[in-house]
Symmetry: C2
Subunit: 507 residues, 2 copies
């Protein structure tokens, strides 16, 4: 008789995907909601993932000629008002600083005092404040291109928040570049889009669609917005990075001008681009299972957890000695230009509890090592890409020589799993009825489950886009960069179209 498998996370993905997501975060001890509305606390396990994302992305930025700088967190209201679409897009969700101190309110408490002559906005994004610096830095074509990145916190007063995915404060990087020609700025936008896609695929093990946003989904003030879109396990799309071609809109708003080679003054062309702590949410939702977090080896805080197994003090001493030596050997191994991180879990807990602890934290490789393993010079290995019970002995020296291959294999396996999810739940749809059925939840108990991504024709009209959004909560995620030219009919109005776009529900 088949025993019902018990899982570490309840509810399962099937049972309730949104709550499963929260439970995975809790079980892995990654982050929690704070007592400040919509702001999260990123706990060490979650923050180390962010540090690894930063480290790797930062090298990619630097290799492509970008340098980091830091600009003020506050934006004077008047700067913010300079770009009309921009302010329209962000005015409804910004934290406003109006006072510079607190004083006694005469009732034992404190009240704001020192009213500012001009209100300051806590940056929701920095185009306008950085533009103000750039207008001083850029004078001649010799000053261009200017390729700057900033790692910072930003604040957007969102109505509904969800940990990592949409929080009032979040951490991100924002690139801001200035170019002498339209072409160079468009090339930069493209370079970064490809860089983001490469990062998602190589490091996050996350296949993505690259493409352009429709006008309705564009960044406020941009001429074109490009994005990468990934599929989560509930088949919803998650925008994982955006790269904006800003034309001369922000250059005009901030007065970024330069003298060209002919000695004439021109407005410069700018871009901006960013990814945020939302990527951690993407990682969780793309890879984890009903036993908790699954982390790609290239971004995990720890690669290997070692769990000592012993019954008495004598065994403990023998086991710990072996393990410490083994840990030292592993620590010397380089894995993609970093050193392997190995944790020894010597807490006073039962072995089984420790095994589940590391499963829930998503560590790629677990090693249980006891006296019998040591006798055979072997280690008992569990892999997070395999089933929990699917563990096996491996010669200790072989493990040392194979560990980087094993980690690469895990990285590939979880990538391929995510790729399969994307392929299995992406469908070319040409009939409106099929399209509507595809996006209609299968049953009421599980309103989240639906078809997935639809590749369908779209005539280019905002009205059709909006009708679909209103009917189904489905949006155009992007117009794929590599879409083949193919004639067809708009899935909404039936008018002619010459390429398909990606429709999906999204985070």
């Amino acid at each position: 008789m088949a025993k019902k498998v018990r899982n570490a996370i309840s509810p399962t993905r099937e049972e309730n995907y949104p709550i499963w997501y929260q439970q995975v975060i809790k079980a892995a001890d990654m982050a929690e909601n704070s007592e400040v509305r919509g702001c999260m606390v990123i706990k060490p396990w979650g923050y180390t993932i962010w540090e690894n994302i930063q480290k790797n992305l930062d090298s990619m930025f630097k290799e492509t000629g970008h340098v980091n700088a830091y600009f003020p967190i506050f934006i004077p209201k008047s700067f913010f008002e300079k770009e009309a679409e921009h302010v329209e897009g962000f005015a409804k969700e910004c934290a406003v600083v109006t006072h510079s101190r607190l004083e006694n309110d005469g009732k034992g408490g404190l009240k704001p005092a020192g009213e500012l002559t001009e209100e300051l906005i806590v940056r929701p994004t920095s185009e306008t404040i950085i533009g103000s610096s750039f207008s001083k830095w850029v004078n001649s074509y010799r000053d261009l291109p200017l390729l700057i990145n900033q790692w910072a916190n930003v604040v957007r007063w969102e109505m509904r928040t969800r940990i990592f995915l949409r929080t009032t404060e979040f951490l991100w990087q924002e690139g801001h570049t200035v170019h002498a020609t339209r072409q160079e700025a468009e090339d930069e936008t493209d370079l970064i889009l490809n860089l983001y896609a490469e990062f998602a695929e190589k490091y996050m093990a996350l296949p993505v669609y690259k493409g352009e946003k429709t006008e309705a989904e564009r960044f406020p003030g941009a001429v074109k917005t490009y994005c990468i879109e990934a599929m989560m396990q509930d088949r919803k799309a998650l925008q994982a990075g955006t790269s904006h071609f800003l034309g001369t809109n922000f250059a005009k708003a901030s007065n970024i001008k330069f003298q060209n080679k002919a000695g004439l003054e021109e407005f410069a062309w700018t871009t901006s681009w960013g990814v945020s702590t939302r990527l951690i949410g993407a990682l969780i939702m793309a890879h984890s299972d009903d036993d908790g977090l699954i982390l790609p080896p290239r971004l995990t805080p720890s690669h290997i957890a070692i769990i000592p197994i012993y019954r008495n003090e004598e065994e403990q001493q023998q086991v710990m000695e072996f393990i410490h030596q083994f840990q030292e050997k592993i620590r010397k191994i380089r894995y993609h230009e970093q050193k392997l991180v190995v944790e020894i879990d010597d807490r006073e807990l039962r072995g089984g509890e420790k095994v589940w602890y590391w499963i829930k934290k998503g560590v790629p490789v677990r090693l249980e090592i006891g006296p019998r393993d040591i006798e055979n010079n072997s280690v008992f290995m569990g892999r997070r890409d395999f089933a929990v019970k699917d563990k096996f002995s491996i010669d200790a020296d072989e493990f040392i020589s194979e560990v980087t291959n094993i980690l690469d294999e895990i990285q590939d396996n979880i990538y391929n799993r995510a790729l399969k999810n994307l392929h299995d739940h992406t469908r070319k749809i040409d009939e409106q009825e099929e399209f509507y059925n595809y996006f209609t939840p299968l049953n009421k108990e599980n309103p989240e489950i639906h078809g997935g991504f639809a590749l369908s024709h779209w005539c280019g009209s905002g009205a059709c886009e909006e009708k679909i959004k209103n009917d189904l909560k489905v949006t155009i995620r992007c117009i794929p960069n590599d879409a083949e030219s193919e004639s067809g009919n708009c899935i909404c109005c039936g008018k002619e179209s010459n390429s398909r776009v990606v429709f999906a529900k999204s985070y």
Copy 2:
């Protein structure tokens, strides 16, 4: 006839130290004031120094068992009010968020809207908001010690600001730890003080006094505050890092309790500690000269700048080929666990202009390489710790094999220079008249120049401390940790004292 030496920075240190400081920053293109009151823009050259500070300090924190996390930027006013001395210390200088959006004001502009039910303070320091998390994280002695660090921006609405040294917004790290016993918390405070001193000496090439602050100079809410104090070239002190033993004050304010081994509930013991972008100001003021910035090799963004010398295209090709190969060789060399950074300056400028450019930026080693050098397989080296004209040829292969030693020698030289400055301008003073003379500027044209640090006896009374502060603008920088017990008389009131303290003017 001796020619008057012209310097790259005007005024010189002698002529006007505060303006010299600003000019060094400008000439090295490190940072600038922004249009937001008191906030600076940290430009790439300055920011990379901060990145190097972060990278090295962060490893030191991690090696001593600390992990990073991230907490909200906003602190609800009610949290802030929980610790009486703390709020007293910061209420006068905090940015207050009162609204969550902007709406049309009917006059073509925007006004704050969405008034918050509780004001939020932009963190000036995070004891209270982090304490709120810690109170949930800490339940049992098994959860302790809790050793957390955060890299973040903070805001203090300072009246007078000075770039890097005192700005409305600055970047820092703030460590926050929780311990089961008073002793463990005191040990942590001490561990970090020593770590900061080691960092200052090894990386920043900055000798420091380690010691305890007097009650008047303590962090608001702390039981004890320890600090490292360095001497700048104008003989003023700069507090370069603080480590606070908070007792149970903040544990009580935030309700951080744990069950001890005996099963009884106790308040925990906490510490906090931080260094900030102010360290960059310290670097500048401690080492730079009248030709601009001087950077310690262990924190410089670039170790070596190569300046190609040629008269025509043929020479250019030959020189550039040699230089690129040379650069590749240097890049493979490891210098204290990082790779050497070498820049080739191939801008269309005269060689002399480029040489001065890199002098002003403080790069430790400059290499001028032309056809004749290549013929001899040599490079023409200038070192930032030597006089500008003091350049010499060195065999190219010898340079490769010696470069890390050369850099270590430069690091040592600037450390020893700073140490000499400290020794030359520190004096044991036992007579009140001498003390008053020591701190009286030598002449009116140069009001900044005075004696330096005085090691004098102090009776321990706040009244004496205050009188000296009022009379001379001199404060007790610290009661040195390693002060020998020695009987004497208070420099102010003449009462008995058993050890000397460090008196100085300060930033």
